[in-house]
Symmetry: C2
Subunit: 196 residues, 2 copies
DNA sequence: TGTACATCAGTGAACGCGCGTTCACTGATGTAC
DNA sequence: TGTACATCAGTGAACGCGCGTTCACTGATGTAC
């Protein structure tokens, strides 16, 4: 049955929110659209009124994950090293390691996205670009003479460490708990030392 | 029909070799056992004479990927910085970025493995442990007083950068080619500088 | 060495299942009068 | 403001397809004599 325009918009948001969480938690190939729609309180048929295809749906869900995942970093004022440090500490925490559904879309989905065609890799790349830009703006440059390329590279390396460290920590968590936490703290210490 | 024992062993190897390459290229959920068996020149039914399940098959394929992917590093003598440097340069090359099938199993499969139960996460973790051990042994310690924990952490951070950098590079390759190569070179430069 | 036959690696049809997508239908919304 | 009805968001059955796994069967291997 028809619903009000506001209700339809709410349903669309609920579909995106469920997809954003479930794709991060299970992977793009780890859950079907019917199950996601059910989680959002709707049926799978309604999806195709809002989105062209699973790929377009997944891309929008991915974009939403970036908006949510980067809001903390975006709200940290440039120069506010305490806020930046808190962001790094949370990113490299066991809480984040164990909370795929609410976690970083890059760590959860970039490897899978790299194998895809269509709208998902575009959204993923735009998210990575934004992540790099926000980091670069907020990471104090230890060498005032450093040129633009150097500060860009520093942000790229920092993001690489964060994403790689989180993935290694997650991959080893169920088998070697000690290694899993060592990766997180080793990366965090390295970032905090270079930032000081 | 029955085949000779040597032929059966060859077939088993062919099945593992095809799975090792195809799972890295497409992901564990990106290709089915029937297609892998066909690639190996056999039918899917024959798989279950060699392996208990898809998961056990995937885990053995993953182990093979580690043996192949780490042979270069293992053959680098401890203290041979030129060989270690060559390993890093190849790992962070566009060749490796574009060659998923023959590339690092961690970068290709660790994120997916982290979401699984069963034998795959165990094999993945053992592979990561071996990778860290080989790196740690071969990375010259710049501070002779550094304790064991510090050198372990250095290896963990280096591996995190490598894996994260490769994943970011692959994820952005089709959309932002410049960013894709910048990540690789930024990570490589950082590793080479810290090693010097 | 030659023959008879038990073994067993590999084949391919069949299974139940979940996938993404389509579409005729339903019925509340919201507009036209 | 009240009524008639066109619109259209959502439903759920149905589609073809590929998945992992099983199993009766095939026929070459390799052993027993």
């Amino acid at each position: 049955m028809k619903v009000s325009k506001e209700q339809a918009e709410q349903n669309r948001s609920a579909l995106l929110d469920a997809a954003s969480r479930l794709y991060r938690e299970r992977g793009f190939d780890g859950i079907g659209v019917a199950q996601i729609a059910r989680e959002a309180g709707l049926t799978h048929g309604s999806l195709y009124g809002h989105f062209d295809s699973k790929e377009h749906y997944a891309a929008e869900a991915c974009a939403l994950a970036f908006v949510q995942g980067l809001s903390g970093l975006r709200q940290a004022e440039i120069g506010d090293d305490a806020a930046l440090g808190a962001f790094f500490r949370d990113y490299l925490s066991q809480r984040h390691r164990d909370d795929l559904a609410e976690g970083c879309a890059v760590a959860a989905l970039a490897a899978e996205s790299a194998r895809k065609d269509g709208p998902v890799p575009l959204t993923m790349t735009r998210g990575i670009e934004t992540f790099v830009k926000l980091l670069r703006e907020r990471m104090a440059d230890p060498d005032a003479d450093a040129d633009a390329a150097a500060s860009h590279d520093r942000a790229l390396v920092t993001l690489s460490m964060m994403v790689g460290g989180l993935i290694l920590s997650r991959a080893s968590a169920s088998v070697n708990a000690e290694l899993s936490v060592q990766v997180l703290s080793a990366v965090l210490n390295t970032i905090e030392e270079q930032g000081a």
